[in-house]
Amino acid sequence: MKCPLETREERDLVAYASRALEGGDAERLEAHLESCSACREFVREQRAVWEALDGWEAEPISADFDRRLFGRIAAEISWWQRMRGRMGFPLVYRALLPVTAVACLVMVGVLLERPLPPRVPAAPVTTAHVESLQPDQVVHALDEMEVLDQFNHMMKPDSSTPRM
């Protein structure tokens, strides 16, 4: 076996010192250690380091660690839902209602103000047709917006308490 220190393969020596090397690998290294004082010294010192580190026990974890963590998660979820409630989809839907209503009114106004083509027999029929459809469209649009608004109210939860 080549000397691990010479081949820069200290990994085996570190593993051996921590008793993690097993079987044939351990036997081969042990045979080498008998004839290599540098490796023996390395193992002795490494074992000392290992044992010194073994004596360093971590401190117990606070009993309220989980409670604090879940509290932070709950606060984050609640914050996100509040933000979404203020700035997200509901705002878009709520904004749709007045915007669409104003757009419809403007459209109706433009249609009413538009001068009719004089003395064209078909023109009054067309105008009458448009005027007769316009209120239906507005009512339909308003109905749809009302449904969206109801949907928004259903989607907005009253409580944000997580399941955990």
């Binding site: 002795r44 000392a48 380091v49 010194a52 955990m164």
Partner: protein, 201 residues
């Protein structure tokens, strides 16, 4: 004693898959699975962070941030790596940042105070012999100082290798470097520790 993380020993694959499976359930909105992951990894993460920054309050604060980041990442989580690799990558990143920011300075000050004010610890240590307790505390402080003196990455590599029994390949993935870089980090770290702690044999 080493706190084994499911990494390379027999049956680890199944355990790993289970962690990833739990995380995928968290992704689907299952809070219970997150609680299971927390229960399983809380202690290894806090202990690793404690040994990194050497102050329990800071370690717990960082661990909270680790699990909070895991929870926040649930929507984008993809099991492309071992769950523990991902978890310790987050933990190491936060610990190295904390060390860089000097958040553990107070802990080092406290460590110094402890070394100077050794008799105050005699009450806490209930060993029969005062001398023994003093020697034990002095050795422990020496170990802490030796580890604290290591550069951040070397420290993280040693702690993952020694206390989490991670393979070089996994440490490399956590530290986002090559396996040969890990070998080099560990060699230099243990060399420093041997120089400082070998007399304890």
């Amino acid at each position: 004693m080493p706190e084994r993380v499911n990494t390379y020993m027999g049956g680890a694959t199944a355990a790993l898959d289970y962690d990833a499976e739990l995380m995928l359930r968290v992704k689907e909105g299952d809070g219970e699975s997150f609680a299971q992951l927390l229960d399983k990894h809380r202690t290894p993460v806090v202990h690793f962070l404690y040994r990194m920054v050497q102050q329990q309050a800071v370690a717990e604060e960082l661990a909270q941030e680790v699990f909070l980041r895991v929870y926040r990442s649930r929507a984008t989580y993809e099991p492309t790596a071992k769950f523990t690799t991902w978890l310790f990558r987050i933990a190491t990143h936060l610990a190295l940042n904390a060390l860089r920011d000097g958040r553990n300075e107070r802990s080092q000050e406290r460590l110094d105070e402890r070394t100077e004010g050794m008799p105050a610890l005699q009450v806490e240590d209930r060993r029969p012999s005062v001398e023994q307790s003093m020697v034990r505390q002095a050795r422990l402080d020496e170990v802490k100082h030796a580890v604290a003196a290591l550069p951040g990455k070397q420290r993280a590599a040693v702690l993952m290798h020694k206390y989490k029994e991670m393979e070089y390949t996994q440490i490399a993935k956590v530290l986002n470097c090559s396996e040969s870089a890990v070998k080099s980090l560990l060699f230099r770290a243990y060399e420093t520790l041997r120089a400082r702690l070998a007399h304890m044999a």
